[in-house]
Structures are given as structure tokens and as C-alpha cells.
């Protein structure tokens, strides 16, 4: 904590009791340099890092494990990575889950046991996992906890009424009498986006082809495939102009992340991944306002995260990005909102060799849609890539952008800026 008493204590410890503040105090350049350096380090120590991350599942179905067993598996791996005992060391647990995807009301009541959080500080957010990271980040920044855990999972294979759950998310007075699923809202967003930004069918097919192929390099991707642009364009319509191959299919899985203050992080791992900035935003939800060609929630969340991280020109700052692509056009729309599609959205940075490659992991189109867990899935992909900077496909990657969206019909999302320096 940097305050007057802290600085006095620091000076006292460094230069002995004879040092006093006063007009006669004359200091050498060496001293001021040391002071600036040390205070700089103290400021740096205000950072929050991801020190452990574990996962389980990543499959269209996970019949051999209950959701609790899935979470226990992911949590055990995350804790092992950074030698954390959740029963003693963790100051805050944050779970991100949605009752209707679980099939249980007040589902947070069933969250503690499998995380090691029984009778400990736990809260549940009915939000995406990346919002959970923001909450844990604040718990650490505010001094409530020095180590915090974020969990989110998907057992979508157990939800036989996925369409009804999406319908239930629609506005009840105006929209539900007309629509019985959220997918057409995505299709209408897509149409308007293509219209306003002069995006061609081929541009969206390119996103599909790139992400499906990228997924072939990722062991976690259930839906990776060698799909050409031409093949992607022949996929049948779900709701015109949205094609089946442009929609991320459902998948099960769990991700658990361990966050720590800088002081703790350095002793917990050799490879801390720093959260340089984080932001979140909810625009305005209804089909009328959601059918906007701009992803305002992503733009505003990014503005917040970039401000904290000191990112002025995202197009040159980031080495790669993990961006929401639940529907293929969303990748282009989000890239534009995040300021990383420098060449204009229709020629967006979607290729693997672009200045800011997007979804080298394969994105949701390869990994599947893990609903509330999706933000943590993208975080996992970014963290692993930053840690594997010596590998061929990750060479020299040091700064990552992670963005998540809560899905149709929401206009909520979060953005994180990650770095290893």
C-alpha cells in the first residue's frame, strides 16, 4: 500500500533514523533513481496476474462426469499449477453460471463443494466468466483477497430445451409473441451488419474456414475441420442469411482460473500472465436496439480495459486476439468494435498472418459454445498461447486481447488485456 506512512517507513528502513523530511534534505541522483525505481516496482506490484488455469471436458457431451466432477477436475488442475490449497489460501471464489442452463434455481448454492469453497467466501454471477475475472480482479485490487478463483462451466448437452431457454431470454411483451427462438435475432443482426459494412458472404465464410482450420491445431476443439471458403458457403441456412456452419455448436466443459496479487504471483508461478486492463459493459437489450451494426458493448468494454492498460492503438499493441465468434459474423463485428480491424471490417484482420491474428485457437466455431464459460475458454486459450511463446504458432507473442459476449439476445460483454511483460 502506497501512502505517506509507507513511504516514510521505506525511507526509514533504507537510510536509518537520522533521515528526516526537511528543507535541508539533499539527496543524490542515485538515491532519487532508487526511489523512483522502488516506487515503480511498488506500483507494478499493484497488478493482478493469472497464475493457474485448469480445464476439463471440451467435448460435445460429457456423460461420464457430473457437472460437479467436471468442476473438481478443472479446479484440481488449476490449483496444482500454482500449488494453491483452496481450503486455506484462496480469499475469494467467483462462479459464473446461469440457472436456466443448469436447470436449478439458486444454482450458486451447489457451487462451493467441488471448488474447495465450502464455508468460504464465494459469490456467483449470472454472467460470462470474463465478468467473473473482472470481479476477482477487483477483489484483489481492493485488498479483499490476495488469491481469487474464477470458475465457469457448460453442461449444455444436458439441456434438451436449448431453444426454449433462448426463447425465455427474449423480451416477453413485444418479442416472444413473434419469435420462439433467439437465433433469428442473430440472423437479423448479421443482415444489418453486412448491409452497413458492405460485408460479403465470402468474408464471413472466410472466418468460418479460418477458425475451423485453426482448431485443427488445438486439442480442445471438438468441431475443428478442414473447411474451405467454398464449402462454408454451401452450408444450409438456419435463418437466412445465417448458415448452420456459422453457428457455434454446443459443447460441455469447465475452466477454472486462479488470480493473484503481484506479490503472491511471483512466488506461485514462473509464468505469471498479467491482467493489464479489464472492462465490461451492458448496452441496451431488446431486438430493436440489439439489431445495430455496431457491437457497442464490446467497444465500451474495450475502452475501459484499454484505458486501464494504457493501450492507445490496439491495432499495433496486440500480438493476437481471442474474440467472440459464437456466430461467424460476430468475429468481424467484434474486431471492428475492438479497433483491431484496421483495414476495414470486410478485409478484417482475420487471417492467421494478419498483424493481429484473431482466434488462432479456432474460436467457438471450433471449440463449441460453452455459454457462460466462453469468456474463460478464450482466456484459457490466450494464457496458454502466451505461456508457450517458444512454440512455432506462438512465437514471440506477448500481448493478448480477450473479448467475450453473453450471447443472443444480450448486448453485454467484457474485455481483458493480457501481457507477459
Amino acid at each position: 500500500m502506497i501512502n505517506k506512512a509507507g513511504i516514510e517507513q521505506y525511507l526509514y528502513a533504507s537510510f536509518g533514523p537520522e533521515l528526516k523530511f526537511g528543507r535541508w534534505l539533499i539527496v543524490s541522483k542515485a538515491f532519487t533513481d532508487k526511489l523512483v525505481g522502488d516506487i515503480g516496482a511498488l506500483l507494478l506490484d499493484d497488478q493482478v496476474a493469472i497464475v493457474g488455469i485448469g480445464y476439463s471436458g471440451f467435448s460435445p457431451a460429457t456423460p461420464s462426469q457430473s457437472y460437479k466432477e467436471l468442476i473438481f477436475d478443472a479446479a484440481s488442475r488449476a490449483y496444482a499449477e500454482c500449488s494453491v490449497n483452496p481450503r486455506k489460501d484462496v480469499g475469494s471464489f467467483v462462479c459464473c453460471e446461469e440457472d436456466l442452463w443448469e436447470g436449478t434455481s439458486i444454482t450458486d448454492e451447489y457451487a462451493p463443494d467441488q471448488l474447495g469453497a465450502a464455508q468460504r467466501t464465494l459469490c456467483t454471477l449470472s454472467q460470462d466468466g470474463l465478468n467473473g475475472v473482472a470481479t476477482a480482479y477487483m477483489h484483489i485490487k481492493s485488498g479483499v483477497a490476495s488469491i481469487a478463483v474464477v470458475e465457469s462451466h457448460s453442461k449444455l448437452s444436458n439441456v434438451l430445451s436449448q431453444s426454449q431457454v433462448r426463447e425465455f431470454a427474449l423480451e416477453p411483451y413485444y418479442e416472444r409473441p413473434i419469435l420462439s427462438d433467439g437465433i433469428p435475432v442473430a440472423a437479423m443482426q448479421m443482415r444489418r451488419f453486412m448491409h452497413d459494412y458492405k460485408v460479403a458472404e465470402e468474408d464471413i465464410a472466410q472466418v468460418v474456414s479460418k477458425n475451423k482450420k485453426n482448431g485443427l491445431f488445438n486439442q480442445r476443439s471438438s468441431y475443428a475441420a478442414d473447411v474451405s471458403v467454398e464449402q462454408a458457403m454451401r452450408s444450409p441456412f438456419v435463418w437466412n442469411p445465417l448458415r448452420r456452419i456459422q453457428v457455434a455448436p454446443p459443447a460441455d466443459g469447465c475452466v477454472v482460473a486462479v488470480l493473484a496479487s503481484a506479490e503472491k504471483a511471483r512466488s506461485m508461478t514462473e509464468q505469471p500472465v498479467w491482467i493489464k486492463g479489464i472492462g465490461w459493459n451492458s448496452a441496451s437489450t431488446s431486438a430493436e436496439s440489439a439489431v445495430s451494426s455496431e457491437a457497442l458493448y464490446a467497444k465500451e468494454a474495450a475502452k475501459m480495459a484499454y484505458k486501464i492498460a494504457g493501450v492507445d492503438s490496439p491495432g499495433s499493441y496486440f500480438d493476437f486476439a481471442e474474440v467472440d465468434d459464437t456466430y461467424a459474423f460476430k468475429e468481424l463485428q467484434h474486431a471492428e468494435a475492438l479497433g483491431i480491424a484496421d483495414m476495414g471490417v470486410s478485409k478484417g484482420n482475420t487471417q492467421a498472418d494478419a498483424p493481429v491474428p484473431i482466434n488462432m485457437s479456432g474460436g467457438s466455431l471450433s471449440l463449441g459454445d460453452l455459454v457462460e464459460a466462453m469468456g474463460l475458454v478464450r482466456l484459457l486459450e490466450a494464457v496458454q498461447r502466451l505461456r508457450n511463446a517458444e512454440r512455432k504458432r506462438s512465437k514471440g507473442l506477448k500481448r493478448a486481447l480477450v473479448q467475450s459476449w453473453r450471447g443472443i439476445p444480450s448486448s453485454s460483454g467484457a474485455v481483458a488485456v493480457l501481457g507477459v511483460e
Binding site: T62, P63, S64, Q65, S66, Y67, K68, E69, L70, F72, Y79, N85, P86, R87, L100, G103, P112, D113, Q114, G116, A118, K155, S157, N158, V159, L160, S161, Q164, V165, E167, F168, P172, Y173, R176, P177
Partner: protein
Amino acid sequence: MGRSHAGRNRGDYGEVMGMENPSEPQGTALTPDEWRGKEIFFRNFHTKFTYSWDTGVAIGHFLEALKAGKIVGRSCSGCNRVLVPPRMFCELCFRPTDDWIDVLDTGVVNTFSISYVNNDASRREQPLFVAVINIDGASPGMGFLHLLGEVDAEQIHVGMKVRAKWKPAHERTGAITDISYFKPSEEL
């Protein structure tokens, strides 16, 4: 609900909330004709959600054992407890549990509640007894929710010893209801 003048004569909001004089309620009464005549707008919506939850290892094995007429738990060598219902991890030690343990189909009533009406408020012919049963062989305080049967309301008490009344083997499906209910195991 839509009727723009509904709140007009409501008077002091605090009084309404506090119900200080319930014999003279504030506000404008809604007449049955207004309801039936659709002068009051409602937007009704019904839906149905269907789930099929994976039982996983712990619950799956527990249900399998019930079908065979047995109750099983898992032991944890960290805290030396026997967990019933079983789980593959110990929530206190945060470690995988160790072994399957057959426990007894007897236990003790931890707590109970009695209802003489159904959910729709219709009177039941027989009262419904729900209870939490601490299972013999499990660690103290461990067990599950079930029904009590072959007992009168006034006989039930905390600490009452009970035994599972199993469904016939051919009727068991691998569900908690493979036990019909728990009944007193000693003469009352």
C-alpha cells in the same frame, strides 16, 4: 398488467405497505368484470424446460446400488468420514475420495415435517411425512431426504430409528424412489 389509473387513489404509499388499517385498504379495487372483460391487460407465457442430467460417477454408482437394494457411500481418508450420498471428492479436504463403502439401510430421523394438504391446497387422505434420515454407517449428520411411512404423525420424533422400505426388485429403476419410504425399525 395495464391500467393507467390503477394507482391514482392510492393515498400514502407507506400506509398501504404497512397495512395499518387493512379494513380500509387504499387504492382502487379491481372488479371481476374488469378482469373477465380483458380491460386489464396481461401477457401470459408458458414454457417447458427439459433436462437430462449426467449422473457422473458418484451419483451413478449410488443409483446403481439403490437398484440392487443397497446404500453406498464414499470414504475419505483425509478426514476419515464416510460420505452419504457419495461424492468423488471431499468438500472439506478438497481431495479425491478413496473407496466405496456399503452402509446400512437403517438410520435415524434428523428432522421432519408433516403436511396435511397437497400443493394445490386440497386435503390429503393421509398426511405426508418428509424427513432427513441420518444413515447408519455414514459419518454423523450424513444422509438424505426421504419419506416416512407405516407410522402415525404423533409417533414421529427426532431421533426415531427407521429402516428403508424397498420397492420390489423388479420395480426399482435406479432412483431415490427405489426406497418407498423409511419406517420405524423399533416398536414405538
